[in-house]
Amino acid sequence: MDEQLTRVAQTGDKRAFAEIYAYFAPRVKGFLMRGGTIEAEAEDLAQDVMVKVLRKAELFDPTKASAATWIFTIARNARIDAVRRAARPPLDGEDPALAPEEAPRADVLCELKERDQRIREALENLPLEQYDVMRLHFYHDEPHSAIADRLGLPLGTVKSRLRLAFEKFRKELGDHL
């Protein structure tokens, strides 16, 4: 999908956007619904996200993040804005000063793909119970106490599993770097 998104950025290629839309829009909606957003709201938010993807495509930098990661940050911010309505600090590459200037170098792209692959592997290597709390941590913006209720676990258990998951995850990544 990175190639398609780059094409959208460079030439406004509508067919490439349609491919991105077909792949990501239902996933963004599903992601939001898994996080407890009701369907009508998830539909609106998913559409908002895809509008932003199209409008801000030129800010997509394939040397910094994959299309999935970039769209995740847009969906994350859209969800925050929907609840908060206030601006979020622009750390997510929405600052035009951060927009890429040159064509991405193949070796940089390669490195990023390798890193993404390592992150996926690290994720898959987590014990299931840690993987589950980590996933809820990303799907939901509700407090950890609500996640604990959902899983029927004490809050302390959820917090310690998350901490273990984060540490293990970072260690795995570190070991590969």
Binding site: K14, F17, A18, Y21, F24, A25, P26, R27, V28, K29, G30, M33, R34, A42, Q47, M50, V51, L54, R55, K56, E58, K64, A65, S66, A68, T69, W70, I71, F72, T73, A75, R76, N77, R79, V83, R84, A86, R88, P89, P90, L91, D95, P96, A97, R115, D116, I119, R120, L123, R135, H137, F138, Y139, D141, L162, R163, F166, E167, R170, L173
Partner: protein, 218 residues
Amino acid sequence: MSNIRHHPKTETLAAFAAGRLDEARAVVIATHAAICTECAQAIEEFETVGGAFLEDAEPVALRDDALENVLRRADPGVNVVTPQKPAGDLPETRLPLSAYLEGSIDDVAWRAVAPGLSQSVLKAEGYRPGVLRLLKIAPGVRMPRHSHKGEELTVILRGAYKDEIGDFAVGDLADLDAGDTHTPEAIGDEPCICLIAAAAPLRFKTVLGRIVQPFIGL
């Protein structure tokens, strides 16, 4: 910059990447990450995790007219990238914090709250309780010993302070839990300016602290 010694906890970085922090704390983390490449990278890694979960999410079809709707709303006529405030010479104006300031840190309207201590509360109320403020401690001034009801994040913007944990200089971040107690004291020749996000008011441990608290509004 690799001379940063104090960083947020991993779970705080993960919470930031997942979009779980209140706005006040998000500003503090973003400010640290703008200076600390190590933490910026950790955030990117956690965002990649978010991307992986997004790809793995079970797809739910949108309404039939949704694509058409999206294309119409993103129409080139309004396809303009909003220009940001021009970046000034001061490095601070390039920080995420700049969106919350009128001008630079030199233009902040400080309100004296105690001898050698002044603050400026910034507008960053999220939907979760949280307070964002700048605190200026004059050289050599020590804050009364206090603990926190909730988590507190502090990033140093100018000068330095030391407390029971260690020395904190520009870019360093203190990630304190509820109940952690400390007694920061500004060190060096210039005032120490920190950006603080607190979930709840401070609790002073000393009689003096408790007496001045209502007046200084911390």
